[in-house]
C-alpha cells in the first residue's frame, strides 16, 4: 500500500509538470535552458529566505516551541509561519522580477533561437517556461521530503483534516502551486513589460494569499480549514488563469 500511495502522490504532485515538460518543453532547446535557469533563480530566492529563517531562528529560537503545547506558543508558531511566508513570497517575487530583467536582456537572442523569431507568442512561451521552472523547483524542494517519507511505514494524517493523509493534501497543494507559478509568471512578465501595477500587485497578493492559506492545513481549531484552503487556492488559480488567457487571446486577435 505504501508504494502504491507513494506513486499516486508522486503523480498527483508532479504529473502536470512532468507532462508539460515532456510534451512541450523538452522539444526546444531554449525552453529547457529557460527552465533550468529559472529554477536556479527560484532556488536562490528560497535559499535567501532560508537565511532569513536561520537568522530569525537565532533571535527568536523557534526550535524551542516545537514541543510546547500552550495556546501562546501555538499562536506564536502561527505568527512565525506567517512571517516566514510573507518574507519568502516577497523574495520570490523579487527574483521573478530579476529573472524577467535577465530574460528581457536575452530576449533578442532567445527570439532568434526559436523556430519563429517574429512570433508575438514567443514571449508567452518564455514566460510559461520560466514559470514552469519556478513551479517545478518549488514543488521539488517543498514536497520531495514529504513524498520520500510517505514510503515509510505508517500513515500521517493532516492536522486540519484528520481523515486525510497529509502527503495527499500536500500533493494536491503542490500540483496547484506548480500551475499557479506558471500563470503568475505569464501575468507578471506581461505586467512588468507594460508596467501594469495592478496586475503586479495581484500576482504578489495572490501569491501571499495562497501561501498563507496553506497555513490553514496546520490547525484543527478552525473548522473546515482544509477545504477553505483548497477553495482559496483553486479560486486564485481560476481567476489568475482567466486573466492570463484573456491577455493571450487578445494577443492572438491582434
Amino acid at each position: 500500500m505504501g508504494f502504491v500511495s507513494y506513486l499516486a502522490y508522486l503523480l498527483i504532485a508532479y504529473g502536470p509538470s512532468i507532462t508539460i515538460f515532456i510534451l512541450y518543453i523538452s522539444r526546444s532547446a531554449q525552453l529547457v535552458i529557460l527552465v533550468v535557469s529559472s529554477a536556479f533563480f527560484w532556488l536562490i530566492s528560497i535559499l535567501i529566505s532560508s537565511i532569513y529563517w536561520f537568522i530569525a531562528n537565532l533571535v527568536f529560537k523557534y526550535e524551542k516551541l516545537e514541543n510546547a503545547n500552550s495556546d501562546k506558543d501555538y499562536y506564536k508558531r502561527i505568527i512565525y509561519l506567517m512571517l516566514i511566508s510573507v518574507l519568502s513570497v516577497f523574495t520570490q517575487e523579487l527574483f521573478r522580477w530579476l529573472f524577467w530583467k535577465l530574460l528581457n536582456k536575452a530576449e533578442a537572442g532567445l527570439n532568434a533561437m526559436s523556430e519563429k523569431p517574429k512570433s508575438p507568442l514567443n514571449k508567452y512561451h518564455f514566460s510559461f517556461a520560466s514559470g514552469l521552472g519556478f513551479g517545478v523547483m518549488s514543488g521539488l524542494v517543498s514536497y520531495s521530503t514529504v513524498l520520500a517519507d510517505s514510503l515509510k511505514p505508517g500513515t500521517i494524517l493532516c492536522g486540519a483534516c484528520p481523515t486525510m493523509p497529509m502527503p495527499f493534501i500536500a500533493a494536491l497543494i503542490t500540483s496547484i502551486f506548480v500551475l499557479l507559478h506558471i500563470v503568475w509568471s505569464i501575468i507578471a512578465f506581461n505586467a512588468f513589460e507594460k508596467k501594469e501595477k495592478l496586475l503586479i500587485a495581484w500576482v504578489f497578493i495572490g501569491h501571499l494569499m495562497a501561501s498563507l492559506a496553506t497555513i490553514l492545513t496546520y490547525t484543527d481549531r478552525m473548522k473546515f480549514g482544509c477545504p477553505i484552503c483548497f477553495v482559496i487556492l483553486v479560486s486564485i488559480l481560476g481567476y489568475t488563469t482567466y486573466i492570463a488567457f484573456k491577455r493571450f487571446t487578445k494577443i492572438k486577435m491582434a
Partner: protein
C-alpha cells in the same frame, strides 16, 4: 577595399558577440551616420577607381573584350572557371566598366554612382542582417548543444543518485563514509573523520586534505603521462591503457556495486555467475566503446561507467570529497587555461598534428568534454581530404557569407561558420590566414565584378539581368549547400565517432586519473554526496550544477576556446550544498512538520499527535 573593411568588421564582431549585437541593432535603422559615412567613402573610392586614366581602346577592341568577357562569365556561372581565367575575367571586367564609365556624360555618371550607392547600401544592410543571423545561428547551435549534453548529464546524475539511494536505503552502515587513511595506511583515524565530519578536528581535516591531495596528485601525474604518450605518438600504448581501464572499471566497480546490492537485498546468487556476468558486461563495453556498436549503447556504457566511478568516489569521507572537488576545480582551471597547462597543450598538439585525431586519444578530461570538438575534427578531416578543395570551399564560404539569404542560413551555415571561427582561433593561424586573405581579395573582386556586370547589362536589359545574376548566386549557393551537406554528412558520420570520442574522453579521464573521472564523474560525485544527505539538497545541487554547465557552455559560445567545465558548476554546487543542508532543510522541516516516530516505534506512544503540533504543509 570597402568590402575588406567590412570583412574586418565582421571578424572583429565575431569576436565579441555583445558588441556585435548592439551594432547590428543600431545600424539596421535607415541611414545612420556611420553607414552613411561608409557609403560615401565607398563611392569616393569607386569614383577614383573609375575615373583613373586608362589606355584608350577602340570600338573593335572593346567588343572583342566584351565577347571574351561574356564567354568567361558563362564559364564562371557554370562554375568551370580556373583561377587564371578568373583573373583575366576580372581584368576584362575592370576595363569594360572603366571604358563605359568614361564614355558616359556627367549626369549619367552621377546616376551611376547613385545607383552604386544604393546597391552598396542594400548589400551592407543585408550583410548586417547576415551578421546578426550568424550570431543567432551560433547561439542556436550552442543551445542545441546544451540541450543535447544536458540529457546524458542528467541521466548520469540520476543513475548515481539511484546507486546511492539503493545502497543506503536499507543498511547505511555498509556504505557510509569510512575514510580510509590512505597515507597512514591505518583505518582508525579515518573512521573518526568519517563519523564526525561535523566535529572540526584538525587531524581529520589534515588527513582529508592529504587524501584529496593524493588523489589530485594522481590526476596530475596521469594527465602528464597521457600528454607525453600522446606527444610521442604512442597510440598503441594509449589504446591499451584505455582499454584496460575501461575493462577494469566496469568489471570491478560494477562487481562491487552488484555484490553490495545482492548483499543488502539478500538476493540469492553465486559469485561465479556474477563474475561471468560482469566479465561479459565489461568485454561488451570495451568492444562497443573502442570498436563499434550502436551509438545509444555506447552512450549508455559511458554513462554507466561514469556513474559507477562517481559511486565509488562517494566512499570517501565528507571533507575529503569537498576538498577534492574544490582542488579539482582549481586544477581544471590551471590545466585548461594556463599557457603550459597539460590539457591545453594536449589540445594544441592534437590541433597541430592533424594526423592523430585517433578517437581514443582525445583525452579531454574535465575540460571541453562539452565543447565536444567535433568541429575541430571536421576541420582536420576536410583538410586531410584535399587541400585544394578546402581552399575552394573557403572561398565559396566567403561568398556565401555575403549573399546567402534567409532560407539558407540554416544550422548548416552556422556549423560552417563555427568551423570557420574555430579555424581562426586554432593554432595554425598563419596558414589559415594566408588562405583567407587571398580568398577575401578574390571574392571582393568577384563582388564588384558582379555588381558592375549588373550595371553593365542594365543598359541593355535591366531586370532580366538582375535575375540572372540572382540565379547565378543561387546556383552557387546551391552548390555551396551541397558541399555543406557533404561536410555535414561527414560530420554526421563523425557523430558516431564523437560519442566514441566522448567515451574516450571518459576513459581518458578514467585512465588518466586512475580513479576515473571527467565532468560527468565529478558532477555526479557532488550530487551523489548531496544525495547521501537529503532530497532537497540533492535537487538544489543538481540544479546548481546544471546551471553551471549552461553558463559554461554560453561562455564557450562567447570565447570559442576550450574552457574548464568544472569550476563554475562545482562552486555553485558547493555553495548550494552548504546553504541548503544547513538552512533550507531545517526550514522545510519546520514548514512541513512530520513528527519523528521512528525512535518510539516500539510502544507507538508518540504516533498520536497533538493537533496543536500536528502535521501540516505550508507552501511558500
Amino acid at each position: 577595399m570597402n568590402n575588406n573593411e567590412n570583412r574586418n568588421n565582421n571578424n572583429n564582431n565575431n569576436n565579441n558577440i555583445y558588441s556585435n549585437q548592439n551594432e547590428a541593432s543600431t545600424s539596421t535603422s535607415e541611414e545612420d551616420p556611420k553607414l552613411k559615412q561608409e557609403l560615401d567613402e565607398y563611392i569616393r573610392n569607386q569614383k577614383e577607381l573609375l575615373s583613373s586614366p586608362m589606355d584608350d581602346i577602340s570600338q573593335e577592341e572593346y567588343s572583342k573584350i566584351l565577347k571574351e568577357y561574356r564567354a568567361l562569365f558563362n564559364l564562371y556561372r557554370q562554375k568551370q572557371i580556373t583561377p587564371e581565367q578568373k583573373i583575366t575575367l576580372n581584368e576584362h571586367h575592370q576595363i569594360l566598366v572603366k571604358y563605359q564609365y568614361q564614355h558616359l556624360n556627367p549626369e549619367q555618371q552621377q546616376n551611376y554612382l547613385l545607383q552604386q550607392r544604393e546597391q552598396a547600401k542594400i548589400r551592407k544592410i543585408k550583410e548586417q542582417q547576415q551578421k546578426k543571423k550568424d550570431m543567432y545561428d551560433n547561439l542556436r547551435y550552442y543551445a542545441k548543444e546544451i540541450s543535447s549534453i544536458i540529457r546524458p548529464v542528467i541521466l548520469c546524475i540520476c543513475l548515481s543518485i539511484l546507486w546511492v539511494k539503493l545502497t543506503r536505503q536499507v543498511d547505511t552502515s555498509l556504505i557510509t563514509s569510512t575514510d580510509i587513511d590512505i597515507i597512514g595506511g591505518s583505518n582508525s583515524s579515518g573512521n573518526q573523520d568519517g563519523d564526525e565530519a561535523e566535529g572540526f578536528n584538525f587531524k581529520g581535516l589534515l588527513n582529508s586534505f592529504l587524501n584529496a591531495g593524493l588523489i589530485i596528485g594522481n590526476i596530475v601525474i596521469a594527465t602528464f603521462v597521457i600528454l607525453l604518450l600522446f606527444k610521442f605518438n604512442c597510440s598503441k600504448v594509449l589504446y591499451g591503457l584505455f582499454m584496460f581501464t575501461v575493462f577494469m572499471l566496469i568489471g570491478i566497480f560494477g562487481y562491487n556495486l552488484l555484490s553490495t546490492l545482492i548483499y543488502i537485498y539478500n538476493i540469492p546468487m553465486d559469485w561465479i555467475t556474477l563474475i561471468i556476468f560482469m566479465f561479459n558486461l565489461s568485454i561488451v563495453g570495451v568492444i562497443v566503446i573502442f570498436w563499434k556498436g550502436p551509438s545509444k549503447i555506447q552512450q549508455g556504457y559511458l554513462i554507466l561507467m561514469s556513474s559507477l566511478m562517481a559511486f565509488s568516489l562517494t566512499g570517501l569521507a565528507d571533507w575529503t570529497t569537498w576538498i577534492l572537488l574544490a582542488l579539482l576545480a582549481c586544477w581544471d582551471l590551471i590545466a585548461v587555461l594556463c599557457p603550459f597547462g597539460p590539457l591545453k597543450m594536449l589540445v594544441e598538439h592534437s590541433d597541430n598534428n592533424k594526423q592523430m585525431i585517433p578517437q581514443a586519444l582525445i583525452y579531454s578530461t574535465m575540460i571541453w568534454m562539452m565543447a565536444k570538438d567535433v568541429r575541430i575534427n571536421i576541420d582536420g578531416n576536410s583538410k586531410n581530404k584535399d587541400d585544394g578543395e578546402i581552399y575552394e570551399l573557403n572561398e565559396l564560404k566567403q561568398v556565401s557569407s555575403i549573399q546567402i539569404d534567409e532560407s539558407e542560413a540554416s544550422s548548416q551555415g552556422s556549423t560552417q561558420e563555427l568551423i570557420d571561427s574555430n579555424q581562426r582561433n586554432s593554432y595554425k593561424e598563419d596558414y589559415k590566414i594566408n588562405i583567407k586573405d587571398n580568398t577575401i581579395r578574390e571574392v571582393n573582386e568577384d563582388d564588384q565584378q558582379e555588381e558592375k556586370i549588373s550595371y553593365n547589362k542594365q543598359k541593355a536589359k535591366q531586370d532580366d539581368d538582375d535575375d540572372d545574376i540572382d540565379n547565378d548566386d543561387t546556383s552557387e549557393k546551391q552548390s555551396l549547400t551541397n558541399r555543406k551537406n557533404s561536410i555535414k554528412h561527414n560530420s554526421e558520420q563523425q557523430d558516431g565517432i564523437r560519442e566514441e570520442e566522448e567515451s574516450n574522453k571518459d576513459e581518458g579521464e578514467d585512465e588518466g586519473l586512475k580513479l576515473g573521472l571527467g565532468d560527468f564523474v565529478f558532477y555526479s560525485v557532488l550530487i551523489a554526496r548531496a544525495a547521501m544527505h537529503d532530497w532537497i539538497t540533492t535537487f538544489a545541487c543538481a540544479i546548481a550544477v546544471l546551471f553551471g554547465l549552461t553558463v559554461t557552455i554560453f561562455l564557450l559560445s562567447i570565447y570559442q576556446k576550450a574552457l574548464p567545465a568544472l569550476p563554475i558548476s562545482i562552486v555553485f554546487g558547493i555553495i548550494f550544498y552548504v546553504i541548503s543542508s544547513f538552512m533550507l532543510g531545517s526550514l522545510m522541516e519546520y514548514l512541513t512538520r512530520i513528527p519523528v516516530v521512528e525512535n518510539n516505534m516500539k510502544n507507538y506512544s508518540d504516533l498520536k499527535l497533538d493537533y496543536n503540533n500536528g502535521c501540516s504543509f505550508v507552501y511558500l
